[in-house]
Every structure is written in C-alpha cells, then in structure tokens.
C-alpha cells in the first residue's frame, strides 16, 4: 500500500512535471545536465514535501524550489550535482512529433532564453507558463511593478530574437 507522501508526490509529479522539465531545459542547454537538474529538483521537492503547510499555493511552492535549485545549479554547473539513486533508462524525452521547422524554433527559443540574465530567465520561463505577475514577484523577490517592466523588456527581446513565422 502506498504512503500518503507517495500519493502526494505522485499527484504533484503528474501535474507539474512538464513545467519542471521545460524550466530545466530553459536553464541548461545540455540534455544530460537538464536531467541532473530535473533530478535535483525532484529530490528537493520530495525532501520538503512534509514541510508544505498550504501557506502558499502548491504551484508557487514548487516553483520556488525549482527556480531556487535552478539558479544555484547554474552557478555550480561544473560541480557534480546531488544525485539520487534513480533507476537506469530514466532519460528526459526528446520532444515528440515535432516538425523540422518547429524543432528549429524550439532550439532558437532555448538559445534565446539562455542568452538572458538569470533573473530574466526565471521571469521568461514563468511568463511562458502563463504565471501571474504576483507569483513571479513572489518567486523572484522583486516587486510586481518591476516584474511588469521586466516582462515588457523580455517579451520584446524574445520576440525580436525569434521573430516567429516571420510576423
């Protein structure tokens, strides 16, 4: 029989894995490193799960852990990250059923995101997930007004860098 923690983690994993996965790819270009980061975030979520007290939204709580792990991970990229004893063959997937053009766009998007400064990268990835400004401000520790200013800059910069479909 599964424990309460197992069920909570399973549920949380199913709901948020896509966002966490995309965040990892937004922070590290190398897929192997993205795998390490993904793993490190899951370890921290698992470790802190008992301490979640519903004082904030679950998604904000997860984002906090994920982004805080990601920013320090990028600082210690060369150091070996904390590893869990995970089974073999747990590779992150290549995007499914993408056209060549879409693949190229995705590649360009990741390159554009990784060219941003760390905080802007956090804001950009949260923005791409339709996260409200208030949550972005809570996660990054900057004011909501300043988030709005940065959002405009980031939107302009990403759109310019990508210019999707030639519009």
């Amino acid at each position: 029989m599964k424990h309460r923690k197992d069920l909570e983690f399973e549920n949380l994993y199913k709901t948020h894995k896509d966002k966490i996965f995309r965040l990892c790819l937004g922070f590290v270009k190398d897929r192997e490193l993205a795998h390490d980061l993904f793993q490190e975030i899951l370890i921290k979520i698992w470790r802190h799960l008992d301490s979640f007290r519903s004082e904030s939204e679950l998604s904000t709580w997860i984002y906090r852990i994920a982004y805080n792990t990601a920013i320090t991970f990028s600082a210690k990229e060369k150091k070996k990250p904390e590893q869990a004893e995970l089974p073999n063959g747990m590779d992150l997937a290549e995007p499914e059923n993408n056209s060549l053009e879409q693949e190229l766009q995705i590649k360009k998007l990741y390159e554009a995101i990784s060219s941003l400064a760390e905080t802007d990268r956090v804001i950009a990835t949260l923005l791409l997930e339709n996260t409200p400004y208030k949550t972005i401000a809570e996660i990054t520790g900057i004011t909501e007004n300043y988030v709005a200013v940065k959002v405009n800059r980031i939107k302009a910069s990403l759109t310019q860098l990508l210019n999707p479909y030639g519009k």
């Binding site: 983690f9 399973e10 994993y13 894995k17 896509d18 996965f21 995309r22 790819l25 993904f38 899951l42 370890i43 921290k44 698992w46 802190h48 301490s51 979640f52 709580w61 906090r64 852990i65 805080n68 920013i71 320090t72 600082a75 210690k76 150091k79 590893q83 869990a84 004893e85 995970l86 089974p87 747990m90 590779d91 992150l92 997937a93 995007p95 499914e96 879409q102 995705i106 998007l109 400064a117 760390e118 905080t119 956090v122 923005l127 791409l128 997930e129 339709n130 809570e138 996660i139 990054t140 520790g141 900057i142 939107k155 302009a156 990403l158 759109t159 990508l162 999707p164 479909y165 519009k167």
Partner: protein, 195 residues
C-alpha cells in the same frame, strides 16, 4: 508583439517529457533518503563514540591534567561537529520558503561560512588539540628528563601544526577553486537582478 509572444508560449508549452515510471523514481528517492539518514546518524554517532573511547581508555580519574585535556578535546570535537552540521548537512535549505534573492543571499552566506570554518575555525581547533595533547603529555612524560620532554613536546606541537596547516591550506585551495567562483557568480546574479 502580443501575437508573436503567444506563438512563442504555444511553442514552449508544446514541450513535454516522456512519462517515466513514477514508482521506480520514488523508490530511488526513498533509497537516497535512507542513505542520507544513515550518513547523518553516522556523523552524529562518531563524535560521542570517539569521546567515549578516549575517556574509557585514558586514566582521567587519576589525573586532573588528563581530565582537563580530555574535556578540551571533547569540547573541540563537539564544536567542530556543530559547525559542520550548521554549514553542510542541514536537511532544510529553505529553497521552498525563500524568493530567488533571499535564497541567493542565504546560499552565499552559507558558502562563506564554509570558507570561514576552513580559514579561521580549523586553526582554533588545531590550537585546542595541541593544547590538550601537550597537557596530557606533560603528565605522561613526567618520568623522563627535561631535554627529552621538551623535545617530545616540540616535535608533537610542530607535527600537529604542520599537518593541520597543510590540511587547511589544501581545503582552502579546494574552496578557492570550487566555492569562490560559485560565490562570485551568485553575487553577480544578485547584482544583475536590479538591471
């Protein structure tokens, strides 16, 4: 611009990972948790066990000097264990509570503290160790002549000092290579937040 950005959002959100076996994942995480708990218990046990062994094997009841020496060693070992626990193995890194800025600040403080342990506190630990051993040797070497006693005290002091200094330098060099760039990069991230 808004339309273009919506396209970018769609493109971004189309990325999905393959579903992997969640049960194997949790099994792996549980194993890691058990392993970390075991390491923590080992760390918590090794110091009291060593202190216990020293008190068991040394004639501290017969000599106040040896007793003082053992108390100093016990204090130094518990102090260093406390510092290590504070800097390294604390389970909660507060990543779930802090915003990015606060987390970075806390992380920088934590890394600087590790530096401080190596650069300052380990010399204080060395001093306490040398003091304690010299007190014990002063009593144990009582039957020998003065020149031999002074010679042994000097050799012991210089040997421990030399060894610890070499160890500390090695550690600091390692931190210069690993921690310093991380601290600098995190400081840079904090500065760039205001850009």
């Amino acid at each position: 611009m808004e339309n273009n950005f919506e396209d970018i959002q769609k493109l971004w959100q189309a990325q999905k990972p393959i579903d992997f076996d969640i049960n194997s994942l949790m099994e792996g995480l549980r194993k890691t948790e058990v392993k970390q708990r075991r390491e923590m218990i080992f760390m918590m046990l090794i110091t009291p066990l060593t202190i216990g062994f020293l008190f068991w094997s040394m004639p501290w009841r017969e000599s106040i000097g040896i007793a003082i020496s053992l108390y100093i060693i016990a204090f130094a070992m518990i102090w260093v264990l406390g510092l290590t626990l504070r800097s390294k193995v604390r389970k909660n890194d507060s990543s779930e509570r802090f915003s990015n800025s606060d987390y970075l600040k806390a992380h920088i403080k934590k890394l600087n503290f590790r530096y401080e342990i190596a650069r300052k506190h380990m010399y204080a630990y060395t001093f306490l160790l040398i003091l304690a051993l010299n007190i014990s040797y002063y009593i144990l070497l009582e039957p020998l002549n003065v020149i031999s006693r002074v010679g042994i005290h000097l050799t012991l002091t210089l040997a421990i000092l030399g060894f610890m200094h070499w160890q500390i330098k090695r550690k600091v060099k390692k931190y210069d290579k690993e921690l310093k760039p991380m601290i600098e990069q995190m400081k840079g991230m904090l500065e760039r937040k205001g850009d």
